[in-house]
Symmetry: C2
Amino acid sequence: MRLGEGVEWAIHCCTFLAVLPPGSPLPAARLAEFHGVPPAYLAKHLQALARAGIVVAVPGAKGGYALGRPADDITMLDIVDAIDGAAPAFTCTEIRQRGPAAVEAAKYRRPCSIARAMWDAEHAWRAELKKRTVGEIARGLAGDVAPEAAVKTAAWYQEVKR
Amino acid sequence: MRLGEGVEWAIHCCTFLAVLPPGSPLPAARLAEFHGVPPAYLAKHLQALARAGIVVAVPGAKGGYALGRPADDITMLDIVDAIDGAAPAFTCTEIRQRGPAAVEAAKYRRPCSIARAMWDAEHAWRAELKKRTVGEIARGLAGDVAPEAAVKTAAWYQEVKR
DNA sequence: AGAACTCGGACAGTTACTATCCGTAATCGA
DNA sequence: TCGATTACGGATAGTAACTGTCCGAGTTCT
């Protein structure tokens, strides 16, 4: 089981947009430049975020992306679902109905215990992601690294917005 | 994020081996026949289970596979790790060190909050899978379907073992 | 109105998963 | 001892998902 790299990029972009002064969208190319990732590919993921309403896309000159709602109302799960898709990781193919022990479909009242157990685990994963919001992450992000990085970030932003 | 189909097959095989009378291994071809899955491909996954010690492989005529330890000592997580690999689904590529705001590596004391949040969620998923054992699942499996299926299973097993 | 800039979807390359086959080694029954 | 059966590993294709890039449509500013 592997989570696409785009999920990481999307979360970083959202947390970054959360710490930026609001009211001024940032182009996809600038977001890619700041994070050191391929611009064209990041744009694709940003489009997915826009479709989910997590960010709003502002077209035209001086356009770009901005958060679609308050950072505290955006959960990690929202982003993961938008990028990776909301389809469950485990899909029950009902192999119990495929062998020589199969009986007519109506006799299977509930999904098999195996699928239930896998789905329970997945629910725990999603519940944990739902607890964490972009706002919370953004506030804690500064403590991960020396204040020097925040200074460089501010300098870069001023340069870009000039 | 998607979990390979082989995981489902492996769990079904383990729970099936758990309800079978012990002391008599079942060939991979029989396991594939009972579950209605491609024999050659299932064999690959069974080999992975054997490498992990979850099942024991008995070579030669009258050989096959049997559980490697009591069913209550085999967790769902054991099987998932054996088939899908124990590598974490989310891998932090440290993109915070790649942009114009990057500072020297030593300044990053702890992993970024984003990675920690993702890993916490993954830990919750693994913890849930670790709670459930093959023995527990096997005991509950019969209740999912009409008793008729158990009869057909027993008949098939007697035919195979003849 | 013109120009510049942006998003948006359509188009290839790469990796991982699915699936199969064959040769080798080991075990049991005759 | 010989043949049948079975697990094991490698080599080999096909398929789907992820990664990556491009150019056109629409919008905003001057």
